[in-house]
Amino acid sequence: MNVTVNINGAERSADVEPRLLLTDFIRVTLGLTGTHIGCDTTSCGVCTVLLDGVPVKSCTVFAVQANGRSITTVEGLKQNGQLSPIQQAFHQEHGLQCGFCTPAMMLVGTALLEDNPNPTDDEIRWAISGNLCRCTGYMNIVKSIQAAAAMKSEEVSA
């Protein structure tokens, strides 16, 4: 079946089997390896991408379901060649240790700040509760998302 998606602003098409998982469509068919595979059982969240702006676990969605829809992966976060606020914040606050969960954490953070520009600590922890960091580096991930919120509100007021 032919699948066409808008991924990170670019239209891409491919002929795929219905059972191809969205993760493998992104990583293998489209060659975007920033989306990671962890547990493969809908638990860890490292394969999270934004489907029409909403975080989903791409190991639990078939590529055919994304036909005609828009996908954002970590490769699509940068804006005009610059790191997005969430990327800058993860850099500045050292919001990563091994980096394996980081693309998903940044995408979930991005979606959270779209919905809720000034989340509380609890709201951030709640939002990332479907994503595991095996380094247990949650403190700095939360700080990074807070810092990104602050950067974005400065951008707005500037």
Partner: protein, 292 residues
């Protein structure tokens, strides 16, 4: 992990979908959120020859509060319920349970109706519906059937939904201004199934006595268990700590939990008692305070 091969069908209208189901329903699994189905297919616990993706059908993504019912359409995601003001105003048990379903990312795709149709005994929604009372709407080319939730739920992974039918909505009873409800859940970690879940619902009369009561348990029996004996005890009586203790003891005795990695049977039975009491107290507080 990869599922077996399957045909992917993605109809654009409800009539087309029902036509396909009428023709080859037994070969088909319906794909709504897919958050239980896709993992089961990847583990090859389910190998359906064909998937019918209903995500592109119009008019199934609605939450409506009308005529004593809160109507939740087949494409309503758990997170839509978490955020809905209509839900908060209409049914306290539904509102309390929604944030406890799986994890925030799974909640973006998983659906309430899909969860009911899947009918995993560890699923939260069937308990909520059994406690508050609900009707499931089933559509086929033969027409529409509306089944009370108590008839719809048969046994673990078994419902009265025929292979040619699609669950198009669930109609949950609304709480009145003198009604309240709660969902208590113990989970080892976010996203895990319940170790124990208890749904409660109360309606009070003008004199403050209990006119209707609902209690249903998750993960502590072969299926979601409605504790009718405890409900009968509550109905017609003035609410109070002693009465709630008695109802909780009945719930604890009615369940039949298994010893497993989530806890011993004795522990889970104890938690059922504690949660039933807490859930009834919280339901009463809401019912008496008119708090949303």
């Amino acid at each position: 992990m990869y599922p077996s091969k399957f045909d992917y069908l993605v109809p654009e209208t409800l009539d087309d979908a029902l036509g396909v189901l009428a023709e080859k329903g037994p070969e088909i699994k319906i794909l709504a959120g897919g958050q239980s189905l896709v993992p089961m297919m990847k583990l090859r616990l389910a190998n359906p020859p064909a998937l019918l993706d209903i995500n592109r059908l119009p008019d199934l993504d609605f939450i409506e509060s009308s005529n004593g019912h809160l109507r939740i359409g087949a494409l309503v995601r758990h997170n839509h319920v978490v955020r809905s003001d209509a839900v908060k105003a209409a049914n306290h048990t539904v509102a309390a349970a929604a944030p406890w379903v799986s994890d925030p990312i799974v909640r973006n795709l998983g659906t309430i109706c899909g969860s009911l149709a899947h009918h995993d005994p560890e699923g939260d929604w069937a308990s909520v519906m059994l406690a508050t009372g609900a009707e499931v709407v089933l559509r086929s080319t033969q027409g529409e059937r509306v089944l009370p939730i108590t008839d719809f739920c048969v046994d673990m992974f078994q419902t009265m939904c025929r292979p040619d039918e699609l669950v198009t909505e669930v109609r949950v009873n609304k709480h009145s201004a003198r009604g309240g409800g709660d969902y208590q859940k113990l989970e080892r970690k976010v996203g895990d199934y319940a170790t124990v879940g208890v749904a409660t619902s109360l309606e009070l009369g003008e004199d403050g006595s209990i006119t209707d009561a609902g209690i249903a348990l998750t993960s502590v029996y072969a299926h979601n268990l409605k504790v009718t004996e405890a409900e009968d005890l509550l109905r017609g009586n003035q609410p109070g700590t002693e009465l709630f203790k008695e109802a909780s003891a009945i719930a604890g005795a009615a369940c039949d939990p298994a010893d497993d990695h989530r806890g011993t049977a004795a522990y889970k039975r104890h938690v059922v008692g504690v949660f039933t009491e807490r859930g009834l107290a919280k339901s009463l507080e809401i019912a008496q305070g008119g708090q949303s």
